[in-house]
């Protein structure tokens, strides 16, 4: 009898220990991030970081601080991100937290996301740029933990290859400091267009465009006073006389002034970048990130030699300010059912976006969403420090969102906008007809959404 009791007690203890082990199981946080080749602290200077380095390092650091938490990261490519996320949401296997090239305000409206508001400190509110917080504003609540301010600078600023400007006798410093009007832009562009090998054919142009490069072309439409939609976003209005004038100006650069290579209707943003990198054009588009791309391409062997362009604002209509596309990005937390886990996921979001970790964006030549961090960026690099300052100034003074609020379904309209640009550049439609057709289709999408 005593033996049986001993066995029973032994079994009881084993079961108890096992249950304890199960109960003490670590909280697991899963997060997704698209490829960001950020160098973690003490990363070897002679090596290029991979997209795995930052998520791996930051996950491990958080686990060191919270031994009861297991952090699992997944690097999801930009191309497959939308379908993976759609499939994950549909099958309820979404990550706890993510940073991606996409997010949809409908997720917030459907109650799938955790709002940020209760967790923001007064210091955070002071430190984050208002625009960075508003990027995640849906129905009066913020849903993004801001991280980067601006993206690659497409639609925000222009890159000038200064040796070409000096060769053409153009004062590029004046452009950087004072900006340039649309008329000045045309005159300067003419000086930057030439025949390199004297065979009677123009082979070097001032700038190039791509019909599939929405951001940069949209800048000209906005600069002339066009607006994508009316104030309450009830109607798409990008066929106003101002928007048509903006598109006509760009078309004239190609067809009348001939300062842009032909074939715009068949090109995209990477063709435009390629032309600038190969010095087939004197101007490119983008901000500090695009300057960083030059050194990255050099390291990967895609470019033979380094060059140092300077950042300048887009041209403006006389009497009006220039325009720059302003946007930002950050981390988003999916709705958590378990209170304890929610606290941990939020803690991790705070950790990712704290000052120290946000400052790591410097290795990617990105501006951060924190004012205090930006003040200390590129202190040892006067060239980059100056470029970041100019870029930050453009974003701050002239930055506007191009694609409406988070509720505005531009992602569904974009293909019709691209088709309008393709038609205008191919000459199959007048700029007015092309934009009218876009507006008709865009308003159909808008009315369907209502």
């Amino acid at each position: 009898m005593l033996k049986k009791l001993r066995i029973f007690l032994l079994c009881f203890i084993i079961v108890g220990l096992l249950s304890g082990a199960v109960l003490a199981e670590k909280v697991t946080i899963t997060w997704w991030i698209n490829p960001w080749r950020i160098a973690p602290p003490n990363f070897p200077a002679d090596q290029s970081p991979s997209s795995e380095d930052f998520p791996k390092w930051v996950s491990e650091e958080f686990m060191k601080l919270h031994p009861d938490v297991k952090v699992e990261y997944v690097v999801v490519g930009n191309q497959e991100y939308p379908q993976k996320m759609a499939a994950a949401i549909a099958t309820k296997t979404q990550p706890d937290l993510f940073k991606g090239p996409i997010w949809d305000s409908r997720w917030a409206k459907a109650g799938l996301l955790e709002p940020v508001n209760p967790y923001l400190t007064a210091e955070d509110k002071q430190d984050f740029y208002p625009g960075a917080l508003e990027e995640g504003l849906v129905d009066g609540k913020y849903y993004i933990w801001p991280w980067n301010f601006g993206t690659n600078g497409m639609g925000t600023s222009i890159l000038l290859y200064t040796p070409d400007f000096e060769k053409a006798g153009v004062d590029w410093k004046k452009i950087v400091n004072e900006g340039w009007t649309m008329e000045e832009f045309v005159e300067i562009a003419k000086k930057l267009t030439w025949d390199t090998n004297n065979d009677g054919k123009i082979d070097h142009y001032a700038i190039s465009f791509g019909a599939k490069d929405t951001h940069n072309l949209m800048n000209f439409l906005y600069a002339f006073g066009g607006e994508l939609a009316n104030t309450d976003e009830s109607e798409v209005t990008f066929n106003s006389p101002e928007a048509v004038a903006g598109l006509q100006y760009v078309l004239d650069l190609v067809n009348v002034h001939k300062v842009v290579p032909k074939g715009v209707e068949g090109m995209g943003v990477y063709d435009v970048i390629g032309n600038f990198h190969a010095h087939r054009t004197s101007m490119g588009f983008g901000g500090p990130y695009e300057i960083g791309r030059i050194s990255r391409y050099l390291e990967s062997g895609e470019l033979d030699e380094i060059f140092y362009p300077v950042i300048a604002p887009f041209p403006h209509v006389k009497g009006k300010d220039p325009v720059g596309y302003a946007t930002s990005g950050g981390f988003i937390v999916f709705k958590q059912r378990d209170d304890e886990k929610r606290e941990m996921v939020i803690e991790f979001a705070k950790f990712l976006t704290n000052k120290e970790n946000t400052a790591l964006l410097e290795s990617l030549s990105y501006l951060t969403a924190r004012r205090s961090v930006n003040e200390g960026l590129y202190k040892d690099d006067p060239y980059m420090n100056e470029q970041v300052e100019v870029y930050g100034d453009i974003m701050d003074k002239y930055g506007i969102p191009f694609f409406g609020s988070q509720e505005f379904p531009f992602s569904q309209m974009e293909k019709y906008f691209t088709a309008a640009l393709e038609a205008a550049f191919a000459g199959t439609k007048t700029p007015e007809k092309a934009l009218n057709d876009f507006v008709t289709e865009a308003n159909k999408i808008l009315s369907k959404q209502k």
Partner: protein
Amino acid sequence: MTSLMQRMWKGKSGYFFLLPHFLLFFIFFVVPVGWGMYLSLFEYNVFSQTFIWFDNYKEIFSDQLFLKSLANTFLYTFGVVPLWLGKALLVTVLIYPFRKSVRTLFKAAFYLPHISSSVIIAMIWLWVFNPNFGLLNYFLQTIGLDPIVWLGNKATAMPALIMMQVIMGGGSTIVLLSAAMSSIPEYYFEAAKLEGANTWQVFTRITVPLLKPTLLYAMVMGTIANFQTFSNIYIMTQGGPEFSTSTVAYQVYETAFQNYNLGLASAMSMVMFVILVGLAIIQFKWLGSSVEY
């Protein structure tokens, strides 16, 4: 019924060996198709799921962009498949007289694109078609012609994609046709020549009819594959210019993964599925006569 059961029991070992494949086929094909049919009756947009009967089908058949994409898909498929088959048949006949090692070399060369990444191939062709520094325009300019914006012009974008697919494709068909041609008894050709048939008559009266089953198989598979073309469109034109290269598969992708409208995308997929089944039936009916030799 009993005799059916008895026959099945008699062949139980055969069914047993078929079972693993059938299970995989059921799980990864039958279930998704069935689920797709089910989803196509819903307004299913990730956030909500509402049963709407056939409204998705009504919507897609009143959508000009979908109808244009459907027409483009037919144009692409019926542009690629005959040229593709023609090329494969021509190459097979041309390399047939060579000795085995030479034939193998050619077959390997034509098969090479099949084992290369379609994304890399598309990227290379993007450079070939580049309006400013592409290979094709370089040749045009050397003979004094004006450059063409191949992928930016409504008139040339689809033919350019078809040309690319015809040049890069057909490798597996060449391998299949070569194998089929090797199995045609040699005395058929010898007898035809003794009867005074010329090369063209041998080709049209002996080679092509005896290759008919393989040609039919290649045509059906080619039609199915090209009707679903996506990666070339996605990488090279994104459906442009002005939707002139938008295909049904590309519309399915956009609708499902950019607009998150899975119900509508499922309805589009079902239309594609029904058309493909229809095309396969027609092709088998017209060309499916058995060949024995």
